[in-house]
Amino acid sequence: MEFLKSLSNNYYYLVAIILFVIGMHTMLTHANLIKKVIAMNIMDASVFLLFVAVGYVRGGAAPVIEASANRVYVNPLPGALMLTGIVVGISVTAYALSLVTKIFRYYGTVDADEIVEIRSQEQ
């Protein structure tokens, strides 16, 4: 019971971990190169979610400081960091996709298993 309670309080944890594992698993085991790239994004996104969730303060306002009001603000740092993270993620995705298209031009497929088959046939 205690466990479930703490779980429900920290559900974002759970979601992030589940997404992370899904991403990692697909990335390592799936033969389709495009799906690998998508999985990579899922994995990144899970961490971004976790980060942003960590920075969120319940009931906090957007971190625009008004001199008069004495309010609770959301931690702005994770948001800022994750913007950077997203940019990095996008560039890696773009690069990975460009590689996939080049590989597709050579083999006519984006399936890693088929590529291995084609290569073994050539030898």
Binding site: F20, G23, M24, M27, L28, L33, K36, M40, M43, D44, S46, V47, L50, F51, V54, P78, L81, T84, G85, V88, S91, V92, Y95, A96, L99, V100, K102, I103, Y106, Y107, I115
Partner: protein, 491 residues
């Protein structure tokens, strides 16, 4: 004073150079390499100045944009960081000199400018990893480094390169993903990203949320083990390093994997609290993985038929020695690991360059086909032999010194088995390096092999490398003294 800003300039100058390089390439392709070399010489000069300054006025922190932590990003300048910086920049410059002539033949002319840009990006990001004192900043530099290193592999756009590059990219994305998750976990419990502040806050946080910190530590091991190709997460390395153009292989095997080992070292002993490691001896994990790496890397190397693949597997074994020093958690061993880091950088880059020379001159890649080329390419095979000897740890070469300290450190902690592994590893190295050298000198040349002349600059850089291997084997004292100062803060 300008010297104040050297730490950031060392990072920014190559990065800025990387962005300007394509523009320069559009106007004057011929100027690209000189420009790259100029940048590298400049930053190397700055790094030397930093070392000189360190010696007189001690370590200091540099606040990016004048913002102090916890808000701003901090760069740290101490002996360890500057040592790494010197290794990265020195080796980077040396390999760039070689690459200048080699890539003229290996790449299409219109790609030269892009290669220079990528190379500068790679060096800049590694300098960033060496200097940064901030968890998230480290992540950013790691990603830059990952993209740049993939790009220098895939730039040839052959099928092997593309596949190897993609494999590397995916696994390295997995590594950085793990690292970022670890950063999130640490940030959650401490609220800091700065190394020093995290270290202060972690013991308390670890007491409250032990699982978080433990998971973070485990993720960090996985992340950097992938990045630095620690056994059994090395699967991407042989393809990637073997398929890449030779200068890329040299810089990847010689420098890039080391920088991640170094980052792991910093995170493990400068960020994670000592109490955590004494409770859960994670360094033992690193230790035994590195032992497996030393043994299996060499065994895999023995059965390879492709020269560059063999060299790549040998890197897996050699990075094991660096991790061994980290895992032993002992200052003497750490000196050995850091010395080996420099030395293996030189040797492995040298070997890949020699392989590049052979491929350039005769188009030979298979180990068996190298018979008899020694007398034909004396200035290539002699450095190859010197580097091979250093791999084995023949006295008078740098390889011995690193192993000496590693073994001494292992003895200090009373681990005889590790000493025996280190020695057995040397023997395994001998078993696959010696036949190549013997075969090259004493067996007859296979028929139908013709030799193109190799540009002088390439041969000259090989000879310089061989001289460095011997220099660091004989006059090792200054470096060792520097390293002993560098590791004083550890353990």
């Amino acid at each position: 004073m300008m010297v104040e800003h050297f730490p950031v300039l060392i990072i920014v100058l190559p990065l800025a150079g990387a962005f300007l390089m394509p523009l320069l390439a559009r106007r004057q392709v011929k100027l690209c390499w000189p420009a790259l070399l100029l940048i590298l010489v400049l930053v190397l000069g700055m790094a030397v100045t930093l070392l000189w300054r360190l010696d007189s006025s001690g370590p200091y922190f540099y606040h990016l944009g004048g913002w102090p932590p916890p808000w701003g990003i901090e760069l740290q300048v101490d002996f360890l960081r500057v040592y790494l910086l010197l290794v990265v920049l020195g080796l980077g410059l040396w390999i760039a000199v070689y690459a200048w002539r080699d890539l003229e033949h290996e790449l299409k002319p219109e790609l030269i400018g892009w290669y220079c840009a990528l190379y500068a990006l790679l060096i800049g990001s590694m300098a960033g990893i060496a200097l940064t004192n901030d968890l998230f900043n480290l992540f950013v530099f790691m990603e830059i480094c990952a993209i740049a290193s993939c790009a220098v592999i895939t730039i040839k756009e052959t099928r092997e390169c593309l596949e190897a590059g993609f494999k590397y990219l995916i696994l390295s994305a997995m590594g950085t993903g793990c690292y970022l998750l670890a950063v999130a976990l640490i940030y959650m419990v401490t609220g800091h990203l700065n190394f020093a502040l995290v270290r202060e806050a972690l013991p308390e946080a670890a007491a409250l949320y032990p699982n978080n910190v433990l998971a973070a530590a485990a993720l960090i091991i996985v992340a950097f083990a992938v990045k630095a190709a620690l056994f059994p997460l090395h699967v991407w390395l042989p393809d990637a390093h073997a398929a890449a153009p030779s200068p890329s292989s040299a810089v990847l095997s010689g420098v890039v994997i080391k920088i991640y080992a170094f980052a792991l070292l910093i995170l493990f002993y400068r960020v994670l609290p000592g109490s955590l490691l004494s409770a859960v001896p994670l360094n033992e994990v690193i230790l035994w993985l590195s032992v497996l790496g030393i043994v299996f890397g060499s065994i895999f190397a023995m059965v390879q038929e492709d020269l560059k693949k063999m060299l790549a597997y040998s890197s897996i074994a050699q990075i094991g020695y660096v991790f061994l020093g980290i895992g032993l958690a002992n200052r003497t061993a750490l000196v050995g690991a850091l010395y080996h880091l420099l030395n293996h950088g030189i040797m492995k880059a040298l070997l890949f360059m020699a392989a590049g020379n052979i491929i350039h001159a005769a188009g030979l890649r298979r180990i068996k086909s190298l018979s008899g080329i020694g007398p034909k390419m004396p200035l290539t095979m002699l450095p190859f032999a010197v580097a091979g000897a250093s791999m084995i740890g023949i006295p008078g070469t740098g390889g011995l010194i690193g192993k000496w300290f590693l073994a001494l450190g292992a003895l200090e902690t009373g681990r005889l088995l590790i000493v025996i592994i280190i020695i057995a590893g040397s023997l395994l190295n001998a078993i696959y390096y010696l036949p190549i050298i013997i075969n090259a000198y004493l067996n007859p040349l296979s028929e139908g092999v013709s030799f193109k002349p190799v540009p002088r600059l390439m041969t000259a850089s090989l000879l310089a490398g061989a001289a460095a291997v011997i220099f660091f084997g004989v006059f090792s004292k200054p470096v060792v003294l520097l390293l002993e100062r560098a590791v004083t803060g550890f353990f």
